[in-house]
Symmetry: C2
Subunit: 334 residues, 2 copies
DNA sequence: ACGGATGTTTTGAACGTTAAAAACATCCGC
DNA sequence: GCGGATGTTTTTAACGTTCAAAACATCCGT
C-alpha cells in the first residue's frame, strides 16, 4: 500500500504537498493538484489512520458497550446499533464495541479504552435509574453522550438524546380519545423505573387535560412480558369498570393485552383500542396490527454523534425527540 | 497521560528500558525492573495504541459488519456479538463495527477499512449460499474468518467455524427415538438453503440408521415463522400418517408446531415429541419448555478469534462444533 | 530596479511507540 | 592481566502522517 512519501516521489513534489492535496487543496496550484491527484489514484493511496492519529491525537473511534443482556434480544438496541454505526460512518468515524461489567465495576474498562487512545469518547445507552457511568465520565472529563437520561437525578451529568416518552403516551391517549375512547387505562412498570414513570406521567396529564378518568386505571407490571401484559389486562377487564382503551408502555405488554382481549372474546380496535411503544416488527405482523409509538432511531443516532463530535455549533447538549405514532388496526374504531 | 519518555525520566532509565519492562521484563535486572514498574504505576502510564500500531503495523482491531436486518431481531447474532467481543478482548483486541451494502457491493468498504489500517482482518457471519465475500477477501489476501460455511461451494474459500447442523438434527432424532418415537418428521426450509439441507441430511441419515421411515415426513416452510411452523405441522397431522416426533430446523418453526399441537388438543411431549434449534429464550419460557439445540456461542467466538489471530499453532482453519441438546418438556414421553 | 505582499512549495520536527544495533558492565578461563 | 562470552542498558532509527516555519516564486507599487 502506497504512502505519502511514495506518492510524493511519483508526483515529483514534497510529502507536504501530497498531504495538502488531500487536506487543503486550495493551497496548491491547479496543475500541481491535478498531477498529485493522478498519482494518488494511480498508486491507490490510502491514508494510514495510525500515523494520523498519532500526530493529531484523535483516533476517530467511538466506544460503545455491547448490550449487556445476551440472553435476551432487544429490538430497540439492534436498530440503534445499526443506526449508530451508520451515523458514525457518516462523520468519518467508527464504533468500537467492548464489554464491561455493569455500573461502576465497568468504569476501569472505559477509563482504559480512553487512556490508551483506543477511543475518543463514548456513547452510552440503556441508562438506569441513578446510573453512575455518566457522573464518573464527567468527573474525569472523558467525552461521552447518552442515549437516554439518567432517571431520578436532579441534574443530568452530561449531554443526552432521548425520546420523549411522556409526549408519546400523551399522543397515544389523544389518538384513542379521537377514536371515541373515554376510559383509557395504562399498563406500566414498577415505580422504580424512571422511564416508566415518565410515560405514565404523559398518560395521566393528557387524560386530565381531556377530562378523562385516571383513577383505578393504572396497572404496573413486574416484568416486561406478554404474560404480565395479559394478566394486567385481565385485571382491568375484571375490575367492574373495564377500559375502552389501553396505552401500554411497551409493545410486549401491548401484545399481552391483545392476547387477553382475544381470550375474552373482545376485539382489539372495535371493542378496546390498544397501543404499544417501540414499534417492534411483531407490531405490524400481529393481527390486528398493533398501533405503536416508533422511536426515530436514525435521528437519535445522528444527534448523538453530532453532540459527541461537536461538529455542529448549533447542537444543544440535550435533545428530546418525539416518537411517531404508527396507527394500525388495534386502535381502529368499530 | 504519561508517555514512555516521562516514565523513563522518572525512573532514570532509557525509554527502551521502560518498553522492555513492559514487553520483555526478562531483559532487566530485577532491581531495575522494580524501579521502572514503580514509576509506571506512580505515573499511571498507559501505552498509546496508535504509536505502537504505527511501528508494528498491527492495529489489534477486528472488523465485523453490523447485522444487516435492522427490522428483525436476531437472537443468535445478539449472543454471538457479545461472545465475539469478549473473545476478542481476551486476546487483547477489540471489535470495530461497520455497515456495508450486501454482497459484493459491500467489498469496497471492507477493502477500505483494511487498506487504511483501521482493522487487521474481519470476522464474517450470516453466510449465504454462494456468499461472495469470502472469495473476494481471499483473492486480496485480506485476513478473515467466517462464522458459518459458504453453502453450495465445492471448496471453502477461507477458514471458518460452524455448528454441525447435521449432527444436531441427528442428536434430536436419536433423542426422540430414545423416548419411544418411531415416526419422526422434519420441518425445514426451501431447498435453496444450504444450512437447511445440511440439517435435513442429518435427520434423514439418522432415521435411516435407526430404521425409521422418512418418506412423506419432510415439510419445507417458505419462511421461518410461527405460522409456517403451525401450517407445516397441520399438514403432517392431516396426512393420514401423523408423526409421533417432530424435529424442527429452528425454534420459531418448533413454536409453531407447539401451537398447532395445542390447537388440535395434542400434548407436546406426551403425544408428539418436538425439538427446535438455537435454544432461544422463548424455548425455556414456553409451556411445556421446548427441547432445543443450543449453539456454543462462547466456544464459536473463541475459535474464530484463535484462527484469525493465529495465536494457537494447533488451530485448524476449519472447525465444526457440536451443538448441545437441551432437553425440556416438549420431548418428554407421556 | 527594488522592496513588500502574497502565493506556492519545501523543510524540519513532532507524535510515542518498537526494533535493532551499539555500548557498557560483569564474569570467567587461560 | 586479558580476551571472549554474556548480561544489561542505551542509542539510533523507523513507522507515516500533520503542524509550523522557512524558502522560493510571483506580482505590484513606488
Amino acid at each position: 500500500m502506497a504512502t505519502l512519501k511514495q506518492v510524493a516521489a511519483h508526483a515529483e513534489v514534497s510529502v507536504q504537498t501530497v498531504s495538502n492535496a488531500l487536506n487543503a487543496p486550495h493551497r496548491l496550484r491547479p496543475d500541481t493538484l491535478e498531477r498529485v491527484n493522478r498519482s494518488i489514484e494511480l498508486l491507490n493511496y490510502r491514508p494510514n489512520r495510525n500515523a494520523r492519529s498519532l500526530r493529531t491525537s484523535a483516533v476517530e473511534l467511538i466506544g460503545y458497550c455491547v448490550p449487556s443482556w445476551p440472553n435476551q434480544t432487544h429490538l430497540v438496541m439492534d436498530q440503534f446499533l445499526h443506526a449508530l454505526c451508520a451515523a458514525a460512518e457518516t462523520s468519518g468515524r467508527h464504533i468500537l464495541l467492548f464489554t464491561a461489567p455493569a455500573a461502576v465495576d465497568g468504569m476501569p474498562t472505559y477509563d482504559d479504552l480512553h487512556a490508551r487512545r483506543l477511543v475518543d469518547g463514548f456513547v452510552l445507552s440503556q441508562t438506569e435509574t441513578h446510573d453512575p457511568r455518566h457522573g464518573w465520565l464527567k468527573d474525569r472529563q472523558i467525552p461521552f453522550v447518552s442515549f437516554g437520561r439518567v432517571w431520578k437525578e436532579t441534574t443530568q451529568p452530561g449531554p443526552w438524546v432521548d425520546v420523549d416518552g411522556a409526549a408519546g403516551s400523551a399522543m397515544a391517549v389523544q389518538h384513542l380519545h379521537e377514536t371515541g375512547r373515554r376510559r383509557i387505562a395504562f399498563l406500566g412498570w414498577p415505580q422504580s423505573s424512571g422511564l416508566g414513570e415518565d410515560r405514565l406521567a404523559g398518560w395521566r396529564d393528557r387524560c386530565t387535560e381531556l377530562g378523562l378518568p385516571t383513577g383505578g386505571l393504572v396497572v404496573r407490571c413486574a416484568e416486561d412480558t406478554i404474560d404480565e401484559g395479559a394478566r394486567a389486562t385481565a385485571q382491568l377487564i375484571d375490575s367492574g369498570q373495564p377500559p375502552d382503551g389501553i396505552v401500554a408502555l411497551s409493545d410486549i405488554l401491548a401484545l399481552g393485552a391483545l392476547r387477553q382481549l382475544g381470550d375474552r372474546g373482545l376485539t382489539a380496535g372495535a371493542d378496546v383500542g390498544v397501543t404499544g411503544f417501540d414499534d417492534s416488527p411483531r407490531a405490524s405482523v400481529v393481527s390486528p396490527g398493533l398501533t405503536s409509538l416508533r422511536q426515530p432511531m436514525e435521528q437519535i443516532a445522528t444527534e448523538l454523534i453530532a453532540i459527541l463530535t461537536g461538529t455542529r455549533n448549533d447542537v444543544p447538549s440535550e435533545r428530546l425527540l418525539l416518537p411517531e405514532l404508527v396507527i394500525r388496526g388495534s386502535s381502529a374504531p368499530g
